[in-house]
Amino acid sequence: MLEKRIIAILQDIVGKEYVSTEQADRICYSYDATQQQFNPDVVVRPADAEQISLILKMANAEKIPVYPRGAASGFTGGSVPIKGGIALVLTRLNRILRIDQDNLIAEVEPGVITATLQKAVEEVGLFYPPDPASLKFSTLGGNVAECAGGPRCVKYGVTKDYVLGMEVVTPQGDIIRTGGETMKGVVGYDLTKLMVGCEGTLGVITKIILKLIPKPEAKKTMLVMFDSIDGAAQAVSSIIRGKIIPTTLEFMDATALACVRQNADLDIPDAARAVLIIEVDGERELLERQAARIMDIASPLGVVHTRVAVSDEESEQIWQVRRSVSPSLRKVNPDKYNEDICVPRSKLPDMIRAIEAISKRLEIPIVNFGHAGDGNIHVNIMVNRAIEGHEEKAETAIRDIFAKTLELGGTMSGEHGVGTSKAPYIPMELDVATIAYMKAIKRALDPNNILNPGKIFLEDQ
């Protein structure tokens, strides 16, 4: 528990009503979407960079851990206060500061909800592409800190491709600026890229300057059904090899389809063992041609049925099938371990085959879906913790899957980050010297290890 004196200082900085040590609040700011729970000692909701600077200076002097928190929709425990201390809730910083239509940029505070910005810029004919499935509730600060991705990233890139500059409060309480609002800029180190994906361990982001692009005129959504997962995976590699980059290239395997078949508004025949959701966008006249070329490539690979949406409503129905997968997985088994490995796109068929083999060998269902166009697979290891041995099998499966991913030149996480969930596996992917280099940066910037301690690196690594 923190001393009364500390609470009084915090109240002085942000105002009494924005500091809480009530048990109810400590419980409500203890978790994220991993469902791990660690109560903070105090919940603080600052209003601006100056207040955050004062909080961090105090936390440094008193050596109190500080855990930045957006919407807590993270999948790897990034915002969970595993050592107690201060839960630093950033949702009051929620203003869109400007949308500059002359330069196609937006300046926002980190607590702005992703979808809120997207709606605002689309109203003036602009577009902010990164679209994590959590976009209706995740914050842009959280997106930047995790470098979030989404279906549209095949064509448009991930969050880091849209961040031009930031205002950041350093772990020691200084307010700094990285990058700027120009499309180019090479003065000094690229601190912007360093901050993107730092999972709140190197600074608290208080302003973000984002690049916008013109909103595409039209889009076309197709649901292509294959008789085997292998066919679908090969179609992905072939489309990419054919030098076509669709907007999205999502896939779902047979188990994922089984979970949603019943509730879907669309008819998905039993013969379909895997599907791809392919969307193309751009000028209306070009869409037909793009779609036709994609179908030419896919058709020989075992397509059993294709649906092309002719209205926004039908396109929405197709997407609904994809979005309902993750939540419906409980039908397979009550507990899931979800990983988001990413492999070079040409290796997708190999990776899928390897996962199928691991699932067979360990006799536990593994459901695959995700952003195939990026080589990013959401691997869901479905277990029942009540059954003896399941937990161990899941551990084995995770290790085997990571090992294969790395062997194919991939990475353990495409977009969810490391947090606490993947920290134990980091040495599988990064060598000793690389980890030491990263830790040296963290130590130099945060000598007292007060900002989001216990994340990315295990203490004894």
Partner: protein
């Protein structure tokens, strides 16, 4: 005897919350308050902590649990359909039992359980309302002259009706013998405050030739007591309505109040097989009229020049029951109506049972969101399907100084039926 489930019975459903945070995008209270403790994910965590003995029913927790409109958005949009609204009501019942009801909650329950008291109070209220209230200068409604417990001074409320609806109508109104026997469950708002809605319902039903029963012994649907945490009171009301409504073998039981509909369906289904059986007979009036082919009937009425622009507000309780489009379909078929869209048509009016009494400030903010949508629309009239929403929306428009009128969809239906009659 009916019986509510204890909070313990929800243990498994509590576990099904995967803490994804989706509810943060949908809870109207969270949008205003921005504290995790008021969103479904937070409330579920608090319920779990309570069951695990990690938190006590302290003042702070009570306040968090009270911040819910029971609008059901969190349930509908939750990937695992965790019944947060039911869980919150179960928590409130536990609180009511262990900590006692608040003064207001006690008042609500006492009065609504005793129709004679309600009748007496409304009679007194009518006699003395000039003393307690003054008329709102612009707009419609009354405002308190001096402070009173639990009613915010700047809240406006409708006048009390000169005579309660059920007192001014016979218990049975015969129609065409071949036509169905319909029981009309009026609810308190229609009975005591807005009887003209009841008259409109009768007009619509009579135009179908229905035989209408308005049981004298019916009471409050129980939702206000339930929201106030008075489980026992709500259960008593339910039993009493069960008796009153099953005494006659009606084909269908009609409600014209979205909240009463929820009280007699969703709430009844949680009370045991007898209540559930009754719930199966309950239909919202709009749903019933659609089923009876009313749209075709309305479309045959002579068209009118310059139909009035009307927007429709979706009551949360119809949204939750999957009936939000039925009133819109009726409106669209009316000869004197030009249905127009408004922004935030789907957003909550902010009443939420007893919510607006305890949290009038938040309630007003939700109202302001509605006012914005109404202001920016072409509508001259806002029609809706719930007397509670009507009261709240009128209060909202009074505050915003907007000229639009609020009414029930059935009032517009009845007016057009009347217009079409040979003069």
């Amino acid at each position: 005897m009916s019986k509510h489930q204890e909070i313990e019975a929800y243990r498994q459903q509590l576990r099904e919350c995967v803490k994804c945070g989706t509810c943060r995008a949908h809870c109207p209270v969270f949008k205003e308050v921005q504290s995790e403790a008021v969103v479904a994910r937070g409330k579920i965590s608090l319920a779990q902590a309570l069951l695990d003995g990690k938190i006590d029913l302290d003042r702070h927790l009570l306040s968090d649990i009270s911040q819910c409109l029971a609008c059901g958005r969190c349930v509908k949009d939750c990937p695992n359909q965790v019944p947060t609204d039911e869980i919150i009501l179960a928590l409130r019942r536990r609180i009511g039992r262990e900590k006692g009801l608040t003064l207001f909650g006690r008042g609500v329950s006492t009065v609504l359980q005793r129709p004679w008291l309600m009748n007496l109070l409304t009679r007194l209220g009518r006699m003395f309302s000039w003393l307690a209230f003054r008329k709102v200068p612009q707009g419609s409604g009354l405002r308190l002259r001096f402070p009173a417990p639990y009613i915010s001074r700047d809240r406006t409320i409708p006048a009390i009706a000169p005579q309660a609806f059920r007192q001014s109508h016979p218990e049975f109104i015969a129609g065409d013998p071949d036509k169905p026997l319909v029981t009309f469950f009026t609810g308190c708002m229609i009975n005591y405050m807005l009887p003209e809605i009841g008259d409109s319902v009768l007009a619509a039903l009579q135009s179908l030739g229905a035989n209408i029963l308005i049981p004298k012994d019916q009471g409050c649907c129980g939702l206000p007591a339930l929201c106030a945490g008075d489980g026992a009171g709500a259960a008593r009301l339910a039993d009493r309505n069960l008796d009153a409504l099953t005494a006659h073998k009606a084909d269908v039981i009609i409600t014209a109040c979205a909240s009463c509909h929820s009280g007699l369906t969703k709430h009844f289904r949680s009370l045991g097989p007898d209540h559930a059986q009754l719930a199966d007979k309950v239909m919202d009036i709009h749903e019933f009229l659609l089923q009876q082919g009313f749209v075709e009937k309305l479309e045959q009425l002579p068209r009118r020049n310059n139909p009035q622009p009307v927007a429709y507000h979706v009551p949360c309780h119809l949204r939750q029951a999957g009936l939000k489009e039925a009133p819109r379909q009726l409106l669209a078929a009316l000869p004197s109506v030009r249905l127009v869209e408004m922004k935030n048509a789907d957003s909550c009016c902010g009443l939420g049972g007893t919510f607006s009494v305890y949290h009038y400030d938040i309630s007003k903010k939700l109202g302001a969101l509605k006012a914005e949508g109404i202001r920016d629309s072409e509508a001259e009239v806002v029609a809706t399907a719930c007397p509670g929403c009507i009261m709240q929306l009128q209060d909202t428009l009074n505050h915003a100084g907007l000229p639009q009128q609020v009414c029930h969809v059935l009032e517009m239906v009845a007016a057009d039926l009347k217009n079409a009659e040979p003069q």
